[in-house]
Symmetry: C2
Subunit: 370 residues, 2 copies
């Protein structure tokens, strides 16, 4: 068989890739026909198609995506810029992106900014920052990506850092307020509301809060959710129950202690992240107060470690996977049709409570609403 011969000869050449021309010769058709069967064009006769397919199979021919991309001006490649892939949120978001792209013939080219590693705690050093991002964007563009997803290391506004782009971009785990920008995040306010509601449903009326850095977007939004829940359930806001932390475990420890040693201490505490919730557990242990019997506790983030706390922490899980999926979905809509108007510019996905063992039910007088 002639084909076999040629194949065998080609196999001898180290790492030889066949091209469409060689396939067309082996199948005795034109390259156009090979291309047509490759792309499932209906206009090729069944017999011809089968002949070509057989040659492709036998030669294990793999068409060059590169060459195709050059011609069709579409790479089916999306650039993912992550501020820092070692931050807990990022891998899951990438996982979500990847799941979607894989099912749609797209692939990811990753550009990891390594912000924490390079900037340490000066990750807010905007000048360097801008440069890193601009570079990453240029690199991705020269690779002809069809679109870009930008994954923040923590929620904040990065409006105006990335200038007008020839391809669509969507932000996730960060905000951008430009009129044309799309961002997908989770709904901090609703999540806080749900957490408080859960505590109220469990019979708690005196609910302390340890916030993150007071001026952060998240702290503000979550505080709003807290207030709204109080309002809806006709509970009084007691300012003594509100403590502003800094996201670190130690602040949960210190502020937890303050809360728990109040003359009329809260029966439940909402810590705005799991780390600070861990600090509250430390404080409770020191004071000989059992969690959840003495004080109930609810965290935020569903960090891996939270399930190893003693007791395992009830906490709000972030919809990380979904954020990735949603981001890439919006991006792909914009790639195919730039004006698919149905997508939200500022999408906020729901968090879900994961119930573990840090919240206890309290009996409450029947007169209470809710």
């Amino acid at each position: 068989m002639k084909a076999r011969e040629i194949i065998n000869r080609l196999k001898l050449i180290e790492g030889a890739h066949l091209n469409i021309k060689e396939i067309s010769k082996l199948a005795q058709v034109s390259t156009a026909t090979v291309s047509n069967v490759l792309n499932n064009s209906p206009k090729v006769a069944q017999a011809t198609r089968e002949r070509v397919l057989r040659v492709i199979r036998e030669t294990q021919y793999r068409p060059s995506t590169i060459a195709k991309s050059l011609k069709v001006k579409r790479t089916n490649l999306i650039g993912v810029i992550s501020e820092d892939i070692t931050v807990f949120n990022t891998p899951e978001i990438i996982n979500g992106i990847d799941e979607y792209t894989e099912n749609h013939g797209f692939h990811i080219i990753l550009n990891n900014l390594r912000l924490y590693q390079r900037l340490g705690n000066h990750y807010a050093d905007t000048a360097k920052y801008r440069n890193f991002i601009a570079e990453a964007v240029q690199i991705l563009l020269s690779r002809q990506v069809d679109g870009i997803i930008y994954i923040g290391a923590h929620s904040r506004d990065i409006s105006g850092i990335i200038e007008h782009l020839p391809v669509p971009i969507v932000y996730t785990y960060c905000y951008s307020a430009g009129a044309e920008d799309y961002a997908v995040n989770y709904d901090d306010e609703a999540a806080a509301y749900d957490a408080i509601q859960y505590l109220i449903d469990a019979g708690h009326r005196k609910i302390g809060v340890i916030s993150g850095l007071y001026d952060s977007l998240q702290s503000q939004a979550r505080f709003k959710g807290y207030q709204r829940a109080l309002l809806d359930y006709k509970l009084l806001f007691n300012p003594a129950y509100l403590k502003a932390g800094d996201w670190e475990r130690e602040s949960g420890h210190a502020l937890g202690k303050e809360l728990l040693t109040l003359p009329d201490p809260p029966t439940a505490i909402f810590a705005m992240n799991d780390l600070m919730a861990g600090g509250v557990i430390d404080a409770a242990n020191e004071l000989g107060i059992a969690v959840p019997e003495g004080v109930s506790l609810i965290g935020f983030d569903n960090r891996e470690c939270s399930k190893f706390f003693a007791p395992p922490l009830t906490t709000m899980a972030l919809p990380l996977n979904e954020m990735g999926k949603q981001a890439v979905q919006i991006l792909m809509n914009r790639i195919v049709g730039p004006q698919s108007a149905t997508d939200a510019h500022d999408d906020r996905l729901k968090c879900t409570l994961v119930e573990r063992q840090s919240v206890a039910k309290r009996v409450v007088s029947a007169a209470m609403p809710g």
Copy 2:
């Protein structure tokens, strides 16, 4: 100015990319010359170079990597296949890869197998497994990657799963015993040796061990390191001090209890991962034994949660970042010169102990060696 006019006209076209031909016209040279300045060829006159450079700057021209790749048959793209990016080891390894590639003009195209998500606890289901991997490899090859890095989700032998490839591949966080294969991992035996040595140096003579699954490569290698340290320090191996766990926290709890309730209990325990070390802490708490005063404890992996244990856990840190760097370095050596013979086929990097607060010093009689 003529250039300006043309540029402005071009800017009007939505998302228009300039190409080398247009640049050559604007600079009044041939495309060959533009290409030469782009590639820093020395054979272009200074004046010409500057003229071209200026046009490039003014137009913000970005050469197409795609087109270049097609011509030079090199994409400077390396394919990264991760078994599961949400597993704790993977992001750091990718971080290391990325750091190296970025400095060498290479980029990463990521293919995440999502094994845990798709196979659940059946991640050893080799049939499906093989398929996923084979697919990923084909996809990466059709994208013309110059090489592949395969990141395992846990150390194990995956020899023979990936067949002969037209591009080099290096494995990390898993083994492949093929004669032509390269793998980079960490040195389990040395790490265990170092951990035990550390305990011995701190004055411990009765050292318990909780291994992972007994038949895993890691457990075996680490057990060897344990034995060797005992031997070197002339300590007797007491079989009662060896317990085989299953990597889960609960087994650390149960086996820790067994160890601590022995008639002559160990004064220190080496748990082969942080999760089981956490279980030992649980056991100690239940028995009213303080860590490290009552029993010293050392873990393995330096998982993020280990620093939140009470007390913060002393543990072996995995050289994840370095593994990524080393893997890509070997890969790049093989890409440029397939026969760079100096690289180890089975590279094992050193772990480093991170000292926290779970190990206490013990006074030991002067007669003891070491």
